[in-house]
Amino acid sequence: MTDSEIIKLVLRGEKEKFRMLVEQNQQMVFRTCMGFLHNKDDADDLTQDIFIQAYQSLSRFKGEAAFSTWLYRIAVNASLNKVRKSSKNLILQRIDAFFGTGKSGEAPFLPSDAEDPENILIRQEHVEWVRRALDSLPDNQRTAIVLSKYDDLSQKEIAEIMKTSQGAVEALLQRAKKNLREKLSAHGKNK
């Protein structure tokens, strides 16, 4: 049964059929949320909200794009909204770090030459500064890099989700990678 056939049945009142759409796309939505939120519980909660939101808006799905593309758009918008809402908490965390009570003030890590690049152990501080570097990207660059790195989507698919051209996506990805590299190397220099 195709996605559009399932959607027709759901709209006719067979809402239990929506379960099939959830099962097919849950991991994909969850991965996107993880790319923005970096927290499993938050990503799970947001995934739930996104599917309920998608169910409520199902009559507005015109079928011009694939259902997954439409769902990706909802997921990206919901994730960005969630990130913006939690920015207040981030400010509080930074104040906390400034006064030396938070964990985010830890010294950044630069791997030594002695370490084998392929076998570098990931420590908590690595995770923290990679997340911070990703979160500091502008929204459109961040969206492009999340869809590329977390969801392994092609530039064509990303362009469709972001309603832009492939060339624009390529430029966005290049700028995002450059920005990430600069932010990561700045961490290295600070050490």
């Binding site: 379960r19 969850f30 991965r31 990503a43 739930q48 009559s59 570098i120 990561l184």
Partner: protein, 160 residues
């Protein structure tokens, strides 16, 4: 001569490789990691990474970033969420938040408006069927011409 030319070529290549600067190396790093660089450029980047501490440090940082992302990607969504999502959808019932067929969504207000208009129309029509009120209360011309003052009082007739 040929051997000399060959030596010169090797010497030239060596100079070219050592002259790759950090800016160019970092620019080519993504392409190198994706395996998109041609042979000569690839060797240049690899040699530069071996010699340059800063660039090899950045390369390692990128590897770490990829590992962090891979670790987040490996996480699985909560399998019980499907049930929770469906329960959440069930709770929407009666709250007016369910998805409606677009046809029904448009047809419903149209039908309500049409039935209201029909009710008003039939009400007016029924009201008009019973005839105009003014016709019933019209006084015949003969009665209208009677002079009330000239009519004898009923009391006179009673006293007789």
């Amino acid at each position: 001569m040929k051997i000399t030319a060959g030596k010169n070529q090797v010497l030239f290549l060596t100079i070219k490789i050592t002259k790759m600067n950090c800016q160019l190396c970092q620019k080519e790093l993504d392409a190198w990691r994706d395996g998109k660089l041609p042979g000569e450029r690839k060797i240049q980047v690899e040699l530069h990474l071996k010699e340059c501490e800063t660039c090899s440090g950045i390369y390692r940082l990128q590897l770490i970033a990829d590992k962090v992302i891979d670790r987040e990607k490996e996480l699985q969504a909560d399998p019980f969420r499907v049930t929770r999502i469906m329960a959440g959808i069930d709770n929407l019932e009666g709250s007016g938040n369910e998805p409606a067929n677009p046809f029904i969504k448009v047809l419903k207000p149209v039908l309500v408006t049409a039935s209201m208009a029909a009710a008003i129309f039939f009400g007016i029509l029924l009201g008009n069927l019973s005839g105009p009120v003014t016709d019933r209360n019209t006084i015949p011309v003969e009665l209208a011409l009677i002079d009330d003052a000239s009519i004898e009082s009923v009391n006179i007739l009673l006293n007789e």
